[in-house]
């Protein structure tokens, strides 16, 4: 079975044909994976020992290894090819809704309707956990709709601003 596993912007092609061996980007390694408990996995790969906490949610696999959390998407090769051919249609176009990452209070709205914004530009300032947090534009675009008002309390996941 061949998988294409994506972490961030990097892809790994991993082939699993036997229980005790995998091929990563063409190179074979002996492996031994054990579940220690419901979330803890111990991996011996070419005798190198690694231990990670693993959790899945919404089709993604979270791997916590040596203090760092990696978000992986694992697809078998056929699914991966399909999703790659489709992805070109959406890149950089269409609507992006900026949602509140947590409950809080809108303390500043730094943009106005119809304004052109650059990636990384501050859109709104959300106060939560006693701190002001700047929510930034995920890409260049135009503000097509502002769905909140100043001093409004918002819930987690609530739509704040729509970018086109």
């Amino acid at each position: 079975m061949r998988y294409v596993t994506t972490i961030g912007e990097r892809q790994y092609t991993i082939e699993i044909n036997r229980d005790d061996q995998i091929t990563i980007d063409g190179v074979a390694y002996p492996i031994d994976l054990r579940a220690i408990d419901e979330a803890t996995f111990s991996l011996l790969i070419d005798h190198a020992s690694h231990e990670a906490l693993v959790e899945t949610s919404n089709g993604e696999i979270q791997v916590l290894l040596r203090g760092r959390q990696y978000t992986a998407r694992v697809e078998d090769e056929r699914a991966s090819r399909l999703s790659r051919s489709g992805s070109g249609l959406h890149a950089g176009s269409g609507e992006v809704t900026i949602k509140s990452p947590m409950p809080g209070l809108i303390v500043s709205i730094a943009v106005s309707d119809g304004e052109a914004v650059k990636k990384g530009q501050t859109i709104v300032v959300l106060e939560s956990m006693k701190m002001e947090n700047e929510l930034k534009a995920p890409r260049d675009g135009t503000i097509s709709s502002i769905k909140v008002t100043l001093r409004q309390s918002v819930e987690q996941g609530q739509a704040l601003v729509v970018l086109t």
Partner: protein
Amino acid sequence: MFRKILIANRGEIALRIQRACRELGIHTVAVYSDVDRNALHVRYADEAYLIGPAPSRESYLRADKILEVARKSGADAIHPGYGFLAEREDFAQACIDEGIKFIGPKPSAIAAMGDKAVARATVQKAGVPVVPGTEGEGGLRDEEITSIAPQIGFPLLVKATAGGGGKGMRQVDRMEDLSGALASARREAEAAFGDGAVYLEKLVVGARHIEIQLLADEHGNVIHLGERECSIQRRHQKIIEESPSPVINADLRERMGSIAVKAAQAVDYHNAGTIEFLLDKDKNFYFLEMNTRLQVEHPITEIVTGTDIVKEQIRIARGRKLRLKQRSIKQSGWAIECRLNAEDPFNNFMPSTGTITRIERPTGPGVRIDSSMYEGVEVTPYYDSLIGKLICWGESRAEAIIRMRRALNEYRIIGVRTNIPFHQAMMDSHRFIGGSFDTTFVEERFELERDARPEDERIAAVIATLVEHQFEQHAAQVVRRNERDTSNWKWIARWERMQR
């Protein structure tokens, strides 16, 4: 003698104080908000009382409700912890009026140090050097501040007179930015302290933040427990502290310590307190402010001096004389504290909320954890993002750093994002290791590289793939995909163990 102490706080510090009470044989009373019923400070206490809804203003800041609980439960004393009501002289006074001992300084000392503008003026009179800034004691209007600013010079800091923890503080580099900074600092100060008054202070360029821990009894004895280096900050919030400081020698420690003692005596200070100084490149130091309470980072001082500051606080509040003498205070080895915050260091340190589904803590030599986390606890957006403190001790600074690296590697938390990767990168940073940094280091010269560990990322990819593969292989035989619950990883693990 105290039989019962009410702890007017939550989180790790409430737990820390309860532990001291336990060791002293004193019963503890916890207070909690709607969302904290399952919190560790409630579970650990001898008694616990609900005081209101989640927002602090309706619960942990409600002095009246807390005093009502103190009366009802028969508490003899209240320990305020840090934050919330810890530096509110009206609360300290209300405790006295109720005949309940407030474990902290007198209301007059809190008031004198609590208004940062008054504090500057007071200690200056006692011969303590202060950073140049706005004079006088009252809250200034925007027009007054705008006219004084050019005389102080840029860059400068706008600071909340009621401030602490960097809330309501803004750096201003140019006159044009002043009005925006004033508005946002006032807004944040108003939200955090219910008081939007601000003052100005010249920004000391290249400064380190060094603070001196004090203990003062009610019989006129004041000692210091040496310094803490707190220059590793982000947005004026301390993230890593250490004791001793890599740039302080015995002579400077003594000079800073005795000036700190003077500053405390200027307000007839009792109990534990901390004098914060800025230390410039030429080793001149200036009084910044006094924190009239227990500090978040108190454990590093406890570890290097072999003291228990919280127990000392309780003894002092009982009216005992200090048992410790200045000459008996020695620093032994080196301690570092990393503050663990529920925030995503790869996403602009955005606070992260949710349920901690899994936690494994480092142990072994030289490791201390002060934390209120456990598996299943929910991190809510209502309070500070500090969820724990990891403190490591070593014989030398180098050993403390290496031990901290090891402990950070062992710490596993899933469910919320934490700043552990930030701490790991700092422990690997040449400048941190070399001890050459100032308070601007994190924001101006420290880059957290996403890609620092390509080999670990590859291993993570392998583990993710193997787990998914096993799941696909085994789950398909038993249940259809759409019938699986979201925690299918649990299922795999169970299956795995069944096969052995």
